[in-house]
Amino acid sequence: MTGTMMLGLLVLLQGPGHQYRDWDQDQEKSGGADTTIAVRPGTRLEVHDLNGSITVRTWARNEVRVLAEHSKKDQVDIEYGGAVLKVSASSRRGAPRDVDYQITVPTAMDLTLGGVYADVSVEGSTGRIAVETVQGDVVVRGGRSLVTLHSTNGDVTATGVQGRLEANSTNGTVTVEDAEGEMYVEGVNGDISLRGIRSGNVDVSTVNGSIDYHGTVQDDGTYRLSTHNGDVTMTVPTGANATVTVSTFSGDFESDFPVTLTGGRQSKRFSFTVGSGKATMELESFQGSIHLVRP
């Protein structure tokens, strides 16, 4: 039985409320940790990774397996107290170097994943997911209830989210696909694309980037797409009912289908109705083009 396996057994026997350190002095090149911990339902996983990557997948067990590759000089610290399982790395000398985590968690486990120079990937989770990294990409497939994703300098991609999605990239793109629920997406310098969306509440804004929405327009829904410098493309499904307000300062407006203005036209802000006009749609671009297209 290896030292790592013994550590895993120790965790299983002792349960929550303990701190474990996995020194890896006997492995080649980089150290490595492989630890499995039994967790109670309702436990949240919290991982912080200064450099490297975090990859989370799921399984149908009430256990968390932490597989990590790291420098021999570093260690992985796992602390299970209360309802939180914390995973992080430390070093005997300064900050830890790259640590690549592959973590397997119960499907419904809530996840809080943070990094600095770290890519983060989550697949198959049905718990609440919160991810924040400074320089790295975020990729999430799945996720229910509340999913919050943020990267300062990286791309954010969310696929298959069901619930409330809050996604933000300061200096990267945000892509949301095949998602259902409320969508709040923000950026500063990057394009934002939402495809295959089923939502009655969509709020998207960026400063320097284009916005592309392709999804449902529900009768009681609210859809707001706003950019300062970039195009806005709104796909309006056949049969949709919406009151559309278009605002621009020096941009253009184009529509795949004829529209008749219903309100007063003030400069380049005007409204019109599609179908019975039940949904509210606000499309804004200070100096880009606004397109209404059919699927």
């Binding site: 990094g115 320089q135 809050e166 709040y184 300062f249 007063g264 036209r265």
Partner: protein, 223 residues
Amino acid sequence: MKDQWTDRLSEYLDGELPEAERPALEQHLASCEACRATLAELRSVVARAASLEDRPPAADLWAGIADRIGAAGAERKAGARWRALRLTLTVPQLAAAAVALMAVSAGGVWLANSRQGVPAEAARPVSANRLTGVAPVSLVEGPYESAVRDLEKVVQQGRGRLDTTTVRVMEQNLRLIDTAIAQCRQALEADPASAYLNAHLAETMQQKLELLRQAARLAAART
């Protein structure tokens, strides 16, 4: 274009227009596109204001910031007051109050967070405290600029703890936002009554606060 009914629209929307005058106003609305558009703007402002989240800043920070906007002691009531605010105010007054609240909330909360050395927490709700009400700039520059200066100070103090790439990204994006703000202001000089331009300026100013707040938190988290 302004007519005799323009200034009565807020009363109408608020249900405070005398019953005897309502039919006349409604008849006027049927034929006046400008008033219909103004009424729609008012409704939009009210809807956006109602969506504001009440996030009182930390008490130790609130006093100083509140002093600057003459609103000390009002923090506990801010959210409720917003929701209860009646449209007996003009649109610019309503917007000014909204943006002042925005600046105070954003600056205060971020300063509080930076002092606490906030760890790499989960991404904060992106749009929960977004404010997109119209904003007459002259009325809100004081509290807004103060909040910006406070946050810039925090960022500057922590700048040395951030790596060069992060600093470059933050500065580049702040420049982008500053350019957008300048373009909005310039556009407003030509069309100061534009509800869209005012709302867009307010939102862009809010985005700058958000980015500064993010930079402050990153700097604090490295300590």
